[in-house]
Symmetry: C2
DNA sequence: TTGTAGGCGTTATCAG
DNA sequence: CTGATAACGCCTACAA
């Protein structure tokens, strides 16, 4: 299975050392010998054995990526960002996703020893500290969306709190006082931060917060749908719904329209993530833009810095900014005219 | 960097052979010796070096996955399907995506030699035969959505033709005669098959086909939007738009509503893929359901069969069926009442 | 300019 | 039951 360097050497009538030299441009090789070796290699369809190579060079040129159970667009964008950045830098990507327990992640991390040069771990669970506590620092590591204290790790987070805060401020500024929130998955750190931002802005803005304005969700369209249905029965009815992500917001939108209500005239709706589709649904969805693609790309960059020693060592914490994208679902033409009429 | 078996052996006062035995349950080991070794291993945080292991065992327990430049939901679902199936079977996944040239794929394939036991290649380009022609059969291989003739490879395809055909039949059955199509990316095999199904059904159904009813697109919301705008200016105006995928359909939906037209009363709209969101947009989108998740999972299954010799050898071609999912965007309540009035 | 030989971390085949 | 030792495919001093 697979031609080895030895067979190429024999066929070309040279030693394996010489073959190795031409394939790595290490050391001098007579031009004729080189040509001959290349010819033989091509004929035999020889390709160096990556595994053997990385064993002796103590470098796999592979980066491990551990992801949790992620939803739709978010998942694909993170991976795409990672993959592109990695390949551009000459690295492979060993992927392992759908982990939802710290224990699973640790198992996967162990399984990757000797296969990767470094690791990117995304674990947006509120018990992330469990993970970090028994994290041997044997391997360069970048943490993504992890709830970690201190400066012991290189970590990148999204400004979920700030984004949620700004969104609620926007809604309050548009005249809303009873703003409901559809929460994200339980135990999810991102979800918790977005909720925290919502509460803070509600308090600071003097809005009419009540426990009944917060409904459980899990980032799916279905959960957004049923949460919104419940919210429509709250009395007095909220005038705006802020969903923890766009999928849930779209589910909520569906529920609100099914009741015959208009968005944003009767109910403003806002999401989080700003997926590509957000601007094309009806009405266009106001959302908090998250640089998802960047998240993956930056993680790779940081990791490679750590690998090549170009980084400023450990302790670099980074917070990626989010930005408000206001569309018709919160301040559409209808809303404006209604407001004027009232 | 990293504790080796040698250090464990020394610390435990045994030979590396014995340590190896306890970690692989190969050969007998005295119970006390085993306990001691385990204790030392734990203390030293020893984890076997995967790379070295796979070198001597001639098995990497890793599967390579080569993907093209994919869009949103499709991308994530394929990968998720692959990853889940792979891990369940005890395999790792080495991912390399965003390839859009046969040449790139071949480079990536070479780079994976010695790192993977088998390969899954998705290359939905109409020049896929270029790829297969110089495909050394050195490694088990499963082709996904590839335009390959003959039975030389294990391949899995989606019934794009059948799905498109059925969708157009549905539209014709609903009374439409001028049915437009927003095409998918040029040179894309899936797109070509969907177009072929559209044309065949138009011809067979005796609908009013014309060249102007076909517009270019590239699977994005933006392309669907502008294609639909152009279609709205065609005279006589089509009464239905069939988009090559859901993203484009959603873009088209946006354009149609922006003109003040109603869906489906003034214009029916249908998509392809049936992404999770399809049922939640407004109006719910009629689409062709594609078992994307299955696609990845099955590919892994086939590959592992080939690896373990349990498969029926090469030449297995599989066609995954698609199913019609009819929602309001083609036969909504409005459409029905309008038809009655006319 | 080229070949020999040692070793990367592991498993597997032998003797002991 | 345990310990040498030869691979696995490759790179790299060191010698020639």
């Amino acid at each position: 299975m697979g031609i080895t360097i030895k067979e190429v050497a024999k066929e070309a009538g040279v030693s394996i050392a010489t073959v190795s030299r031409v394939f790595n441009d290490s050391g001098p090789v007579n031009d004729d010998t080189r040509k001959k070796i290349m010819a033989v290699a091509r004929k035999l369809r020889y390709t160096p054995h990556g595994g053997a190579r990385s064993l002796i060079m103590a470098k796999t040129n592979t980066l491990g990526v551990l992801l949790p159970d992620l939803y739709g667009e978010f998942f694909s964008e993170v991976i795409r960002g990672v993959d592109q950045a990695a390949r551009q830098a000459g690295y492979h990507v060993l992927l392992s996703s759908s982990h939802n327990k710290a224990e699973e992640i640790e198992t996967a991390m162990k399984a990757m020893r000797g296969r990767v040069d470094g690791l990117i771990v995304m674990y947006p669970d509120i018990d992330a500290h469990i993970l970090t506590s028994n994290l041997s620092d044997s391997m360069p590591l970048v943490l993504l969306n992890c709830d970690v204290e201190g400066n012991d790790f290189v970590s990148i987070n999204i400004d979920n709190y700030g984004g949620a805060f700004a969104m609620v401020q926007h809604l309050i500024g548009a005249g809303h006082r009873r703003i409901a929130m559809i929460k994200g998955a339980p135990n999810n750190f991102d979800a918790a931060e977005r909720l925290r931002g919502y509460r803070a802005a509600m308090a600071e803005g003097g809005a009419e917060w009540s426990e009944r304005l917060e409904r459980d969700g899990d980032f799916t369209e279905a959960s957004g749908f049923s949460a919104a249905e419940a919210l429509l029965d709250v009395d007095p009815r909220p005038t705006a719904i802020f969903a923890a992500n766009d999928a849930a917001a779209i589910g909520a939108l569906s529920a609100v329209r099914q009741r015959g209500l208009h968005v944003p005239a009767d109910m403003a709706i806002a999401g989080f993530d700003d997926i590509p589709m957000a601007g094309y649904i009806n009405p266009p969805l106001t959302s908090v833009h998250v640089p998802i693609h960047d998240l993956g790309g930056r993680a790779i960059s940081r990791l490679i810095e750590a690998l090549t020693g170009r980084g400023n060592g450990k302790g670099r914490k980074e917070l990626l900014p989010t930005t408000l994208v206001i569309r018709d679902s919160t301040v559409g033409p209808k809303h404006v005219s209604d407001a004027t009429i009232t």
